[in-house]
């Protein structure tokens, strides 16, 4: 049986890693919509029957479709929406991660990873929202400061990404241990 956290981690990687930041390529080489499809599959594999699971899976699929069109817009070079579409998808992604964390909190209730899930939720959503707010305000800030302010927002979002990375490692180990124990007990 494969690890659902693997898929969630792949999803976050695909959504976050964007080579435009590094200035290597003009377009996003790891497309976001594949990340959202990973998310949908990972959520599908999580052990829960709560309604949030269904909602978040549908949300992931809707985001995949939306981000596909936004990426297509950029690939073809129409740039009808420009950065607005990208920022809107970013906001929807934060809302989506909030729903995913609600699901994870529900799954880990009364389990060893409850505290870690809760702390990661606090930091991840706070940093992502602050980064988004700072980036959205950067349009109206003085031209000399604009780039720096935008960079601060990006750094905050990168911090959130690293928090998720550490959380993922803990989840991965936990899930692996459970599976190994199951196998032992069956022997």
């Amino acid at each position: 049986m494969k690890n659902p956290y693997d898929y969630l981690f792949n999803g976050v990687c695909f959504v976050f890693i964007d080579l435009r930041f590094l200035g290597i390529a003009d377009t996003d080489i790891l497309p976001d919509f594949i990340g959202y499809l990973f998310f949908a599959f990972g959520i599908h594999m999580l052990p829960s029957f709560h309604n949030i699971k269904r909602w978040s899976k549908n949300f992931a699929i809707i985001l995949a479709v939306l981000s596909f069109f936004v990426e297509l817009d950029q690939w073809l070079g129409y740039k009808m929406l420009g950065e607005i579409g990208v920022q809107f998808i970013q906001f929807l992604f934060i809302v989506f991660m909030y729903v995913v964390f609600q699901l994870l909190l529900h799954i880990h209730k009364n389990k060893p990873l409850e505290a870690k899930t809760f702390k990661t939720y606090q930091k991840f959503i706070a940093f992502m929202l602050c980064g988004f707010v700072i980036q959205s305000f950067s349009i109206n800030i003085d031209a000399s400061m604009r780039e720096n302010v935008h960079f601060i927002g990006s750094v905050l979002q990168l911090l959130a990404y690293f928090y998720f990375l550490f959380y993922f490692q803990a989840c991965y180990k936990y899930y692996k241990e459970i599976n190994e124990n199951k196998v032992h007990s069956l022997k």
Binding site: K111, E114, Q122, K123, C130, I141
Partner: protein, 177 residues
């Protein structure tokens, strides 16, 4: 009991999914809930916000009452001249206020409710507001402001050179005539 049964029993005891650390989790939740209640009692935001505002208003009223006149014409002129700086300050203030509010809400550890909903709604509104403001500013000032694209400077230099050339040509022609 068979030896196999003992082994099975031991294996079952070690299973973390069968025997989760319920005590630890409950304790943590209780601590969080307690700290939540304590903090709301200790730190009433309303008083922290209202006390300095009322103090400032009282001070203002006393100063007016003491007969000190305020000459605000020059100040008004200054503020009109520095309107741009002022708007920048407002933007930075709003940005800080909103990000502090978000940090505060999540620091308190709320997972659902009005405040969490407000953080999302306010940040979305801030985004929309910024877009609308930027759009409006561009209509008000059709002169191209220096954007942060690198090509701008190069173009501007090019245009300057052309203008200088034209000027030189005209002056030379004028001199010949």
């Amino acid at each position: 009991m068979d030896e196999r049964d003992y082994e099975l029993f031991d294996a079952l005891k070690k299973r973390p999914d069968k025997d989760p650390d319920v005590y630890f989790s409950n304790q943590l939740r209780r601590e969080l809930q307690k700290s939540h209640i304590k903090k709301t009692k200790r730190l009433p935001v309303a008083t922290i916000l209202t006390v300095p505002v009322t103090l400032a208003v009282l001070l203002f009223v006393f100063m007016i009452g003491a007969g000190q006149s305020f000459e605000l014409k020059n100040a008004a002129q200054l503020t009109i001249n520095q309107e741009k700086n002022f708007t920048h300050l407002v933007v930075i203030f709003l940005l800080l206020a909103l990000s502090l509010f978000i940090l505060f809400v999540y620091y308190k550890g709320l997972t659902r409710g009005k405040l969490v909903y407000m953080t999302f709604a306010l940040s979305f509104l801030a985004w929309i507001g910024n877009l609308v403001y930027a759009e409006k500013q561009n209509i008000d000032e059709p002169i191209v402001q220096p954007s942060y694209s690198e090509s701008y400077d190069i173009k501007q230099d090019h245009i300057d050179e052309i203008q200088q050339d034209n000027y030189l040509m005209k002056t030379i022609e004028g001199g010949i005539k």
